[in-house]
Amino acid sequence: MEIVVIGGGIAGITSALELANSGFTVHLIEKEARIGGQAASFCCKATEVCSKCSACLLPQRLSEIASYPQISILTNSTVVGVNGKLGNFQVEVCQKPQYISPKKCIACGMCIEVCPTMPKAIQPPPPEAVPYSYSIGESQCLYLKREECNLCREICPTHAIIFGQKPQRQKLNNVGAIIVATGFDVFNAREIGCLGYGRYPNVLTGFDLERIFRNQGSLKLSSNAKEPKKVAFIQCVGSRDENHGYCSQVCCKYAMRLARLITYQNPDAEVTIFYIDLQTAGKGFAQFYKEYQESIRFIRGVPIEISEAPSDEVEVKFENIAEGRVERENFDLVTLSVGIAPRKDSWELAKVLGINLEDDGFFDIKGPLNTTETNVDGVFLAGACQSPKDIPDSIAHGISAAERAMEVLQRCQ
């Protein structure tokens, strides 16, 4: 029996591995060129001790899944049609042209050397990427633009580069169940204009910080290449507001862990966290908070406005509740702790599968005692596409979905 898992993030990968271990053939369908999802851009937040952020759990599973014979990974692919019912779905998948075949690419890097464009149209994969193959950017590649250049294709020792491809459609038959693990969108902080994201270079999001620490290992301001001294985090950006009736569950934790990392790397740094309610519960995290709360300044209330200040600083306007007045303070860097939002394209998939969305835009569940089943029998949910989840919760939910799928299939056989 075959199972389709839609989405190659941590939840989808976990479900796929779990099902493959139990003897199912799994098709893992990923929209992007590589699997790994959002967690692939997260950084390790350890100082001299591990901060238990779980970012390291993804690479482990990636290397496991990469060479798993019973799991076929379809990248650049989306589900465009579903027919049938529990135990016998037919799933139609559309694969965008890939130009470099992941099955043939050995990541030798010869193509990038000959690529004449600047910046290079061909990009190497990040170190732990699965599949580990190069990719071609359509907007820069001379061949794809004007059919003028053929250098990479000529030099590729394994003939992995193929131009002139069209999107390919294929049908997966005999699919017993479908697991939806499409994840989330990071809230777009530009939607809250008064916070200045995208306008001021020293206003970043928590996800930006994750990427900076991951790629560069330390935090330097883009404006003066120095380590920031005064750093503010603003919580609940895109969570718990009039448009988002839920807590994203991850932001307080990543903000505090990043705050500890910043003060560890630069002991002169002072970190302020503006918050509504600190979410410090959870196994292990309550202890973490107890140990580090003294080194962080906490201010209740979320700032209303961020503006530019002299010498590349940013001015934060906030209410000092204790004193009962509005204050302004300058920071070197303001980090917006953006939340987890439902994917903008989830309604398209919902339409294809016939499943419901709940009020906030996440996929809806069957009932309170069943957080992985949907209104369509045989279609299951895993991870943050159901509601905001951190990495360990996504893993647990991914196994959960796999287990429900196995059980339901066993019952209908």
Partner: protein, 543 residues
């Protein structure tokens, strides 16, 4: 059998230009034990696989050295290929000449590549096959705890074809469900009936686990049932021993009684058909001792809403932070505020005192920036969620650590949340921490999936002697037994006299701690043994 080695060099499609491959081959060819040195363009693709296959079979080699890209990408595939060729995968030795050599340096790196390969060659000479065999496992599972978690786990296990035995120390099933009303209470009868009806589930009530010996696939469990003691064997054990709630005495200077009550008592009062006079003002307090308060938040929100609906009292909630980081709690919080529940957030713990038969709360509200004095008819005190009675005793029987609050299993990000350091022993639900319903449900189906995967084939593949203790060298000093986090080592008597350490390959997690710590150097970890590591170090600079 004499060592006969085949060396495969991969130039990654000809891209590793700063390594002079013919020169490397020249240097390697004349080495002792080396049958051949091949240069290939891409060993990782199909043609490479074919080349390795045909050369290995025709030359009949018994060690394979591959110099290619990072083992991260290729090791699993090459190991699988060796297995296909009926060669033990442990006889493979890899040298990373791409990421750690060619790509890392400018200019000619032939010498370094040669050194890396020499290291792999010298290690390969010493490699020993690690055989694997199938070990039969007991297909039955033990579930300890007959509450919501235990019953649901048993039901789901039996639906997947695993026979669970459900042990409950009380005379009846139900656990905390017996005390809960509302949604959970409504599940009680149906669940107990379903469990009792399911023929696959064996129910042992008034029974307690008093001893656990053995390892995954073969746990020998002593169960005391009333006065009798039963010995049974199981393949895996799931602990769902639940929680208890307690008002920590230090938090409340006033004696608990008429005016200061627990959430549980409030729930009972709400259920009572009539109340002579419903309280006019009710205060809820939590976050006094620490802020690990998901459970108190949820209980407070639900009960505050019930109070509003039933009695219409004025409701004030005193806390530091409302813990909304569980599914649906933000919505509940909003509903409570819309219905008129007031939330007052303090920084310093409020003062609670008696006031003419009522209770006075003095607190600083950080939102108003003012001191507030409120006299309540009823104060509902914070209740901490703690591990159930007996958790401590059971954890010492199991030799499994608990965290600072006494819950099972310290947090370890590298384990699935429900797994423990001991293979085959699992913890689900509130016995491992303060979890909300969504997380409890995820726990249950995770454990069911993992147990099913472990036990349903009826056998587990294990490496026979990856880690072994040499009985000649072992002095039974117990160092390894104390150090092993997986409880995989025990003392056995050999030849009716000497007592030595023996490592169970089933329980062993291949962490290598014992091999590193053994003072007598009696424990050998094949693939990382002292002589193999030293041989690699000595190979540097020889070429």
């Amino acid at each position: 059998m004499p060592v006969k080695m085949g060396i495969f060099l991969c130039n990654c499609g000809g891209s590793l230009k700063n390594i002079d491959f013919p020169k490397v081959r020249e240097n390697l060819e004349d080495l002792e034990d080396v049958a051949f040195v091949d240069i290939s363009h891409n060993l990782c693709l199909e043609e490479g696989e074919k080349a390795i296959t045909s050369r290995t079979l025709t030359e009949n080699i018994n060690r394979v050295v591959i110099a290619a890209c990072s083992p991260e990408f290729c090791e699993r595939n090459f190991a699988r290929l060796l297995e296909k060729l009926r060669l033990n995968p442990n006889l493979l030795s890899l040298a990373n000449i791409r990421e750690q050599c060619s790509w890392a340096h400018e200019g000619d790196v032939t010498r370094k590549a040669l050194e890396l390969i020499m290291m792999a060659v010298d290690k390969a000479r010493l490699l020993q096959p690690v055989e694997r065999k199938e070990v039969a496992v007991n297909k039955e599972a033990l579930v300890v705890g007959g509450g919501f978690c235990g019953m649901k786990s048993s039901l789901e296990l039996s639906q997947l074809g695993i026979r669970p035995t459900l042990v409950e120390r009380e005379p009846t099933l139900g656990g905390k469900l017996k005390e809960l009303e509302g949604f959970y209470g409504s599940q009680r009868e149906a669940m107990i009936k379903a469990v009792e009806k399911e023929e696959n589930i064996e129910i042992l009530t008034s029974a307690e686990v008093i001893g656990v010996e053995g390892k995954i696939g073969d746990f020998r469990v002593r169960i005391r049932r009333e006065t009798k003691e039963i010995l049974r064997t199981f393949g895996a054990i799931v602990f769902a021993t639940g929680y208890k709630t307690e008002i920590t005495a230090g938090d409340f200077p006033l004696k608990l009684g008429i005016n200061i009550i627990s959430q549980k008592r409030l729930a009972q009062m709400l259920q009572a058909p009539t109340l002579e006079a419903s309280p006019e003002t009710i205060g809820f307090i939590f976050d006094l001792s620490d802020e690990n308060s998901r459970f108190p938040t949820l209980a407070t929100l639900n009960n505050a809403l019930a109070v509003k609906q039933r009695w219409g009292s004025e409701v004030y909630v005193f806390c530091k932070n409302v813990k909304v980081d569980s599914e649906g709690v933000e919505k509940l919080y909003r509903e409570a505020r819309e219905k008129g529940v007031m939330f007052l957030k303090f920084d310093e713990n409020p003062k609670i005192s008696a006031d003419d038969g009522r209770v006075r709360i003095d607190a600083g509200d950080t939102l108003l920036g003012e001191e507030i004095a409120l006299t309540c008819d009823l104060v509902v005190a914070e209740e901490k969620l703690l591990p159930a009675e007996g958790t401590e005793g059971l954890s010492s029987v199991l030799k499994i650590r608990t965290d600072s609050q006494g819950f099972y299993q310290e947090e370890n990000v590298h384990l699935y949340p429900v797994s423990s350091e001991r293979k085959g022993i699992f913890f689900v639900g509130n016995c491992r921490g303060d979890l909300d319903l969504g997380r409890v449900l995820a726990d249950i189906s995770s454990v069911v999936a993992i147990v099913h995967e472990l036990l349903s084939p009826g056998k587990i593949m294990v490496e026979v002697e990856r880690v072994k203790a040499d009985p000649q060298k072992c002095v039974a000093c117990l160092t390894c037994i104390r150090a092993c986090p997986h409880r995989a080592i025990q003392l056995v008597q050999i030849d009716n006299e000497k007592v030595v350490a023996e490592i169970s390959q089933l329980a062993c997690d291949k962490c290598g701690i014992c091999a590193a710590i053994c003072p007598a150097k009696a424990i050998k970890f094949e693939g990382y043994s002292d002589d193999q590591i030293l041989a690699q170090i000595e190979a540097i600079g020889v070429s």
